[in-house]
Amino acid sequence: MISKTSRIILNVYVAAFLIYLLAPLIIMGGAAFNDSRFPSVYPWVGWTDRWFLDLFRDTRMWNAFKNTILVALAVVAISVPIGTAAAILVNSLQGRVRTVLYGMMVAPILTPGAVIGISTLLFWHHFSVPSGLHLSTLGQCSYISAFVMLLVLARLQSFDRGLEEAALDLGASYSQVLRRILLPHLYPAIGAGAAIAFFQSIENFNTTLFTRGPYDTLTVYVFSRVRSGITPTINALALIMIAVTLLAAISYEIYRRRHEKVLLARGRGNPDSD
């Protein structure tokens, strides 16, 4: 049993933690509606929607937004297959080769983003490839595919190799086993990997900054706006991004719960005993 005092301490702690976590977001969001030239809620000058209107009128922002989404989609398209394949390969290896390959895949996660950015730039420069969003994509993929690999690798631990043998024994070829048995088992992890890849790409700044060439992405756009004198349009942009993320997370959760209920309902159709 938790004693009364320790429950009070626990509640205070949770409250403090949530305030610490959420207060900056609330203040930042509030500032997006304050009719003040500076991004703050105090002093409160009055309600306004002009920062949002400013933002929507900003063609440079729209361009950066489009670039960000393009890069994120490209990163998903490249890093998901690479990460999945690497996970399957690493999982099938043993001993030293496995350790080496695993280390090589995971190393970019531990490497600072700026280093990845600069080395991507230098590497392709060597082959006279100009910088641009394609290099940003490649640079990001080098560490994002490792995230995908880690997720898929974790899921592979729960895969019963016996199923693979059973399928082979029933006449399946290796590619049929992959398509019909292994990949369906991995789909949840692959889906999660795709989502993480997408968001990792959107929020990437360091790697992109060095490789982007003349192109803007959202993070770079925010960065340059902040440098040239900050206005509450940035707050408006941030608020929209938070809202979109929250909506996505909530709708996924609703979908997941519904799906679970369906499964439960199906499971309740009692297996008649022998």
Binding site: D160, E165, A166, A167, L170, R180, H185, G269, P271, D274
Partner: protein, 364 residues
């Protein structure tokens, strides 16, 4: 359809460990053949070699006369029912059952229809749309069998498929498996560590120990005429006496133990230095109140009577403190002695056997 399966001095090595040692046996087409042996004796390894998941380190496997060397599992006319069944959890029952047809590119309607037919054969009609997780143990068993039958295999390999079921269901499935085998006439190779299963279902049984075949024979011969001490004690119970032969005729010998000298059947000439023991099954032993004039009698005191339902186990202690067991049927025909009463433990020479511990590995 069925095919013969021929193991020709097949061995399997894992590093320096020999899991299967020069096993030779020919299994007839349409036969229900069992490998019986304790856990770890190499049964699964044999099945995995026949199905093609591991290659023998020496020897040959022929199915229907054809050498299987280098032929992959998906190209062999065999299908394996795994110890844990290995049903596909993400597919409904009917897709599981018709998986092999899907792999061959059969269209969906035909697969569905065939799955329904096979589910009828295994007595699970209408279960096609269920998920595997919704099935009971016995139902999963049947789905695994239906999935294997869909391949129309010539040889079906079963790796202790009943070990996860409870006793009642296990006995029911024994009869069921046997019936399916007779109906389909597929060659069944069945492995188990359960002697009751092997004896009840099989046309022939191979008893194994530590990678070696000990005896291949019909169930009744395995039980009645075990070829060595391992087979005798693995299949059924025994009273075992250490000792040595002091005189031998053609089919019997006199055997000296520290409880006396006994006469017992003896036909395998022992290889020079093999340890010999005398084996008397509890149901072949009797308890009598007066010492029989022939030999084969040991004075005992009844120490415990355990009632097992259809039979009764009587434990009797010799004056030296050895506990012997006699089994009698619970049919009212035999009188059951009181605990503490004095009796003589006796047996017929023809029903007792002098056996070497293990058959020496056949060399050459």
């Amino acid at each position: 359809m069925s095919a013969t399966v021929e193991l020709d001095r097949v061995s399997a090595d894992f590093g320096s460990f020999r899991a299967v040692d020069k096993v030779s046996v020919t299994i007839g087409a349409g036969e229900f053949f069992s490998f019986l042996g304790p856990s770890g004796c190499g049964k699964t390894t044999i099945l995995r070699m026949v199905s093609g998941f591991i290659a023998p380190s020496e020897g040959h496997i022929r199915i229907g006369g054809e050498d299987m060397d280098g032929i992959r599992p998906n190209k062999r006319p065999t299908v394996l029912i795994f110890q844990n069944l290995a049903l596909f959890p993400l597919m409904p029952v009917w897709e599981n059952v018709s998986f092999s047809l899907e792999m061959r590119g059969v269209d969906k309607a035909a697969r569905r229809a065939r799955a329904e037919e096979l589910l009828k054969i295994v007595d699970l009609p209408g279960a096609g749309n269920k998920m595997i997780s919704q099935l009971s143990g016995g139902q999963k068993q049947r789905v695994a069998i239906a999935r294997a039958l869909a391949v129309e295999p010539k040889v079906m390999l079963l790796d202790e498929p009943l070990s996860a079921l409870d006793l009642k269901l296990r006995q029911h499935m024994r009869a069921e498996l046997r019936a399916i085998q007779k109906r389909t006439n597929v060659t069944f190779i069945y492995i188990t560590h359960d002697q009751g299963e092997a004896l009840a279902m099989s046309d022939r049984v191979a008893v194994m120990s530590q990678g070696r075949l000990q005896q291949v024979a019909k169930p009744e011969d395995i039980y009645n005429n075990p070829s060595n001490g391992f087979v005798a004690s693995f299949v059924g119970e025994n009273n075992v006496f250490d000792g040595r032969i002091i005189a031998s005729q053609t089919t019997t010998a006199r055997f000296e133990t520290d409880l006396g000298v006994f006469e017992a059947a003896f036909n395998t000439p022992p290889s020079s230095d093999q340890k010999l023991r005398l084996y008397v099954r509890p149901e072949y032993a009797r308890l009598v109140s007066t010492a029989p004039e022939a030999s084969n009698a040991i004075a005992v005191t009844i120490s415990d009577i355990s009632f097992e339902g259809n039979f009764i186990n009587i434990h009797a202690t010799t004056d030296q403190g050895r506990v012997l067991t006699v089994e009698t049927r619970n049919d009212g025909s035999s009188d059951i002695p009181e605990t503490g009463s004095r009796r003589y433990f006796t047996f017929d020479a023809q029903r007792a056997r002098i056996l070497a511990d293990e058959t020496q590995a056949a060399h050459s």
